[in-house]
Symmetry: none
Subunit: 422 residues, 2 copies
C-alpha cells in the first residue's frame, strides 16, 4: 500500500481475448490523474474467480485506491462481487438499498424481476452501495487490506456517470484533497521527426519545476505532452504558461495547435475568422482532405467544393486544366498542381483552393518521380503557387495521409500569414 | 512461469494518465488467443524505468510469453530497452543489424541521423532484433527468467505488421505448433443488427466440431469470426468450408465478404472484373467514399472522378443539377440525388456513378428531414434510381461513415446483380 498510488482494473473475457478494446480504463485513469493520484498501472483480467481475486489482492498491495470496472451484470460470467468478497474474506449478503433500487427499476419498466437480477443486490459484507442511475447493476465501495476499492459496471455510460457522481465524492473525502493539483497540455506538431522535436524540447522539463515532458508519435503528427503537478492551482497555471512559452520558442515552427486540436479544425477556425471560403482539387489524396474538412461541424459555411479528379479527362473537364500543360509537364507537376488549384477556385468561386497531384503508390513511380512525390498547389486572394515534395512512407495509405497533411499545413501557414517551410 | 499463459504489456505515460486509450493490447491479445495461448492479463504501465522493470519481472513469473508494446522511440521517455536490460540483468549493447537498418532508412530519406536515433539500435545483450519494415524503431525478442519477451513499438501500424511478420513465426516455433493447427475466417456484414446476426448464426458452433463462432461489432459493419482448431490441416480446411457454407446460407444476405475484405475492395474488384468505371458525387459524405475507393491500390484504373459538391452552386456548376430541382425538392431529395449521380456519370464519362445528399448533423435537421436522413442516387448502364434512408447514429462522424457504407453497399449489390434490401 502506498499513499497516492492508484490502479485501474478491468474485467472481462472479451478484453483478454482481444475481442473488444478497453476504453473504460482510459476514462478512469484520466479521472484518477485529475484527482491527483499517480496511476501505477491499468490491468485487465478474465472473468475468472480466482484470477480476479488474485488481481484484487495484488492491487491492494501496490496501491491505496483501485477502481475496477466490469463483471457486475446479472449473468453467470459476472463474478466481480464474489471475487471481491473472496479477496476481502467477507460473505456476500443482500444489500437492502440495492435490492430496493433494482425492484424500483423493474417496476418502472413493468417487467418481471428474475432471480439473476436479484443476484445483483448481493454485495460483500461491509460494502457501501454505489447507485447506478441508468442501469440495474449497482456498484460498491469496499476497503480490502487497507486499500479502498470502487467497483463499477463495465457499460461505459453507466461507469462514467457513476465515477463522476458516486466515486468522486468518496475519493475526495478520503484524499482530504486540498493538496495536489494537476494539469495536462497537448501540442500537435507536423513536419519534424520525433527525434529532432525531442532534441528541441529536451531541456524544458529541467528548467520548469514540477513539469514532465512527453512526446508521442501519432502519425503523421507528433504530440508534445506537458504534465504539470503542484500544490497550488494559481502557481501551476503559471508553470504551465511558462512551459508553453518555452515550447513555442523552441518548437513553434512545427506546432500547429497548443490545445490538441486537429489540423483541419485549426484551418477551419482560420477560415471562419477571416470569413473566407475553400475549395479542393485532389488527385493523389483522393478525397481525404475533403473528408477531413467536412468532418468539422459547420464546414458547409466555408467549404464549397472538393473535386477528386483522378483521370486527366476529369482534370480538364471539371477544373479546366489545360491539356497542353498535362501533355508537356505531366499530371504530377507544379504546373498541373497550380492549374488545378486555380480551376477549383474559379469553378467554385472560393477564396482559397488547394490541390494535390502525386504518386501514392504502390505502383506508378518512375525515374525522377518516385512513389512519394507530391505536388501541392495553392490559390488564394493574392495569386497561386505550387510546391513539390518527396514524402514517401512506403505505403499507399500513409502516403495519402502525409500528402493531405502537408497540403493542409501549407494552407494553414498561408491563412495565418506565415512562411511555408519545407 | 506457466506453459501456455501469456501477458500483454503496454507502456506509456499517456496510457496511465488516460490521455490515450490503449488499442494495441486488444490486437495483441487477439493474436495470442489465435495462437492458442491463454492471456491472463493486459497491463499498462508508465514510462518509468523501475516500474517497467518490475512489471517485466512480475510478468515473467506469471506467464511464459509476453508481448510488450511501446517505449522504443528515440526520445528520453522511451525506456523499454533499458528496463528490459535491467530486468534481464544484461547490458545495453549496439545491435549491428539494427544500426544498419536505421542508417539505411535515413540514407533513403536523405536526412541526417541524430544521436537519439542511434540510441534505438541499443538492445539488451542476447536479444534477437525484430525488424520494423515501416519505421525506425526496431523491436527485439529476449528470454527473461525463462519467459520469452517480444518488444515491439507502440505505433499501431508498425506494431501490427511486426506482430504478424516477426513475432508470429518465432512464437510458432517456440510453441512447437506442428501439432496443433489453427484457422480463422472473418466475414463482414452490413445492414443488420448484432442481435439479429447473432440469432442467424447461433447454432453453427454446435453443428461443426472444433469451431468457435464470435461476433464483433466494428462500426458500421459486424464481423462474424470463425475460429477453428484441430490436429490436421486438411481436416480443418474441410471444417472451415462446412462452417463457411452454413454462414452463407444463414447470413448471406448481409455478408459482403468472406475473407475480411473491406467493402470498397469488394466494389473495386467487381469494377475491375467487369471492366467498368466509377464516378462519385458526394455531398453529406464529404469525400469519404472517394477516399475509401482511392485507398485501394490500382483504383486509378477505374475511378475517374469524385465531386464533393457541398454548396448548391457547386451541385449546379459541376454536376449540372437543375436549379429548379434544388428549389422545388431541396438539396436533400431523391430527385437531387438522382440528378447528381447522372451529372457525375455524364461529366466523367464513367459507367457508374453514385451520389449522396443528406444531413450528417449535428445541425441542419428539420421536420420531415431529421439528422440522419440520406438520399443515395445511383446511375448505371441501365438508367438511374434513388433511395432515401434514415440511418441516424447521432453523431456527424458516424453518420458520414454510415451514409458512405450504405451508398457503397447499394453499388455493390447493383454491380453483382443483386437486389437492394433496405
Amino acid at each position: 500500500m502506498s499513499g497516492r498510488r492508484a490502479i485501474v482494473l478491468a474485467t472481462g473475457n472479451e478484453l483478454v481475448t482481444g475481442l473488444v478494446a478497453d476504453s473504460n480504463s482510459a476514462f478512469i485513469a484520466a479521472f484518477l490523474t485529475r484527482m491527483g493520484l499517480g496511476v501505477v498501472r491499468l490491468a485487465a483480467v478474465a472473468d475468472d474467480l480466482q484470477g480476479l481475486a488474485d488481481a484484487i489482492l495484488q492491487s491492494a498491495k501496490d496501491a491505496s485506491f483501485v477502481v475496477c470496472s466490469g463483471g457486475l451484470g446479472p449473468t453467470r460470467d459476472d463474478r466481480t462481487a464474489q471475487a471481491a468478497a473472496m479477496a476481502a474474506g467477507k460473505k456476500l449478503v443482500p444489500n437492502q438499498k440495492a435490492l430496493e433500487r433494482i425492484e424500483e427499476i423493474f417496476a418502472a419498466f413493468g417487467r418481471p424481476m428474475t432471480e439473476s437480477n436479484r443476484k445483483q443486490a448481493l454485495l460483500p459484507e461491509g460494502s457501501i452501495m454505489l447507485e447506478n442511475p441508468i442501469g440495474t447493476a449497482p456498484g460498491f465501495c469496499l476497503p480490502i487490506n487497507g486499500c479502498l476499492f470502487f467497483f463499477v459496471p463495465g457499460v461505459p455510460s453507466e461507469m462514467e456517470r457513476m465515477v463522476d457522481e458516486q466515486v468522486a465524492p468518496i475519493l475526495r473525502e478520503n484524499l482530504g484533497i486540498a493538496g495536489q493539483v494537476f494539469a495536462v497540455k497537448v501540442f500537435n506538431a507536423f513536419g519534424v521527426t520525433e527525434a529532432a522535436l525531442g532534441e528541441a524540447v529536451e531541456g524544458i522539463a529541467d528548467e520548469v519545476p514540477g513539469l514532465t515532458v512527453g512526446l508521442k508519435a501519432s502519425f503523421p503528427q507528433i504530440q508534445i505532452i506537458l504534465y504539470g503537478t503542484g500544490k497550488d492551482a494559481k502557481a501551476l497555471e503559471r508553470v504551465m504558461e511558462q512551459a508553453e512559452k518555452l515550447v513555442n520558442e523552441r518548437a513553434g515552427q512545427w506546432v500547429y495547435s497548443s490545445n490538441n486540436k486537429t489540423l483541419e479544425a485549426v484551418v477551419c477556425e482560420l477560415l471562419r475568422e477571416k470569413g473566407q471560403t475553400l475549395a479542393m482539387a485532389e488527385s493523389c489524396t483522393g478525397g481525404l482532405i475533403s473528408h477531413w474538412i467536412t468532418g468539422v461541424a459547420g464546414s458547409s459555411d466555408y467549404f464549397l467544393l472538393g473535386a477528386v479528379t483522378y483521370s486527366n479527362q476529369a482534370k480538364a473537364a471539371v477544373l479546366g486544366v489545360n491539356e497542353k500543360t498535362l501533355a508537356e509537364y505531366g499530371a504530377v507537376s507544379m504546373q498541373t498542381a497550380k492549374e488545378m488549384a486555380l480551376g477549383a477556385k474559379k469553378v467554385s468561386g472560393a477564396d482559397w483552393a488547394i490541390s494535390t497531384t502525386g504518386i501514392a503508390g504502390p505502383d506508378g513511380g518512375r525515374p525522377g518521380k518516385p512513389v512519394g512525390t507530391v505536388c501541392i498547389g495553392i490559390a488564394g486572394p493574392d495569386g497561386a503557387e505550387a510546391f513539390c515534395l518527396n514524402l514517401s512512407f512506403g505505403d499507399r495509405g500513409r502516403n495519402k495521409i502525409l500528402f493531405a497533411t502537408a497540403a493542409l499545413d501549407i494552407l494553414r501557414r498561408r491563412l495565418a500569414g506565415k512562411a511555408v517551410e519545407i
